[in-house]
Amino acid sequence: MKFLRKILLIFLTFLLIFTEARVNTLLSDIDYIEMLPFLIYIFYVSLYSFSSGSSLVLVLSGFYFDLFLTDNFLGYTSIKFLLICTIIHYLYTRLSSGIVTEFTLFYLSALIYKFEVISSSLGINFIYIIIICLPNYFLFKILASTLRRDVFSTKI
């Protein structure tokens, strides 16, 4: 059962990546709107669900990205995802909790997530990332407040 749940989670993350790419393609005409559901997932994992199992999910999701959606060498995106998760979790456990800290961490994760875009032209991209972070962070807060009600972890 645990194995099946893991497989299902892996396929759901693939679906999340697919949705992200599809939505952003349709939104490509609008400059300052970008939906990042997979980044929200990574951020949620690094804050509330940092476990050994999620590392495998991130590796496979990265492989999916590299195989079908990018020009990168296989494994590059996996390393990026794992680094985001590790860095954010490390900082989150050491910094004081609060909405400002959380948003700063979300912004940092978005900067690493969008590393290729930022490295190609600095300057305007930092502001661009802040703007696209705002609605995505709001979505993260909604997701976190919904899932943090501990519905699934309640012992019967």
């Binding site: 693939f14 697919f18 790419a21 599809r22 952003n24 393609t25 349709l26 490509s28 005409d29 940092f50 476990s51 050994s52 590392s55 495998l56 991130l58 590796v59 990265g62 492989f63 999916y64 990205f65 590299d66 195989l67 079908f68 959606l69 990018t70 020009d71 990168n72 060498f73 296989l74 494994g75 590059y76 996996s78 390393i79 794992l82 680094l83 998760c85 590790t86 490390y90 456990t93 997530y113 969008k114 290729e116 875009v117 190609s120 032209s121």
Partner: protein, 265 residues
Amino acid sequence: MIDNYNPNKRKYVYYFLAILLSLTVLTIDVFSEKNLSRYLSEQLNAVFPEPEVIKNNFNFTSLSIFKTKSNLINENIRLKNEVIELRKLKIENEKLREENKSNNLVVKEVDTSTYNILESSIIFKTPSEEYLISGGENINLKVKDLVIDESSYVVGVVSNVRQNRSIISTLENANFSIQGIDKYGNEYLITSDSESLLINSVKLRSTNTDIKLIYTDVSFGHPGQFPIVDLSTIPITISNDKLRVQIPIDFSLSYFSNLYLVQTK
């Protein structure tokens, strides 16, 4: 002993091992010149659903419920459906007319006896702001093949080819660069910062400033000569045997853009 055991540290170890695993795969892929990723991409094609055109064949009159109603209602519905169908046909007709118009424009601009022109569509925008388009090795597409718009101007270059899809780098990409040549044989490097195009001369053979168009060329690995930029309305000055011009990009690619791929026959 028990105090030394820290489950949180153990999680970091798992992540570290996962990074090492990814690094190993990356190294193999680098040394196999992307053969590993190409092989896996072909084998796992089923995991990547490609968009299909949804055909709407739904017809109200085919529903059995209507058969039991009076003839008058049936007739009314049939007529309504006919009107809907006619409206659809009108819209489709207009779309086809527009498509035909744009196709004719490309055919007029490009010598079709020398080149294969294939219409393509955008599948995805990649996270690195590049575009994934339909068509790859299955249509003999190669890296450096050109992507042109309706007026035959170069808007992108194929940067990676997979079995049935390719990644294109467009003028909007900040890392876009292409080499060009003008009518005097001067060579240029054209780069983009996503807002504007920077044109820098690499080799100046003539100091004439009525350059007008900069083209791609076979000598740079492209299928042929296609215009990249038109400088006829831009004042050009050459100083220290160098030409440097910056022009804004008035091109925007979207999911609905018409793209044409150029290949030599």
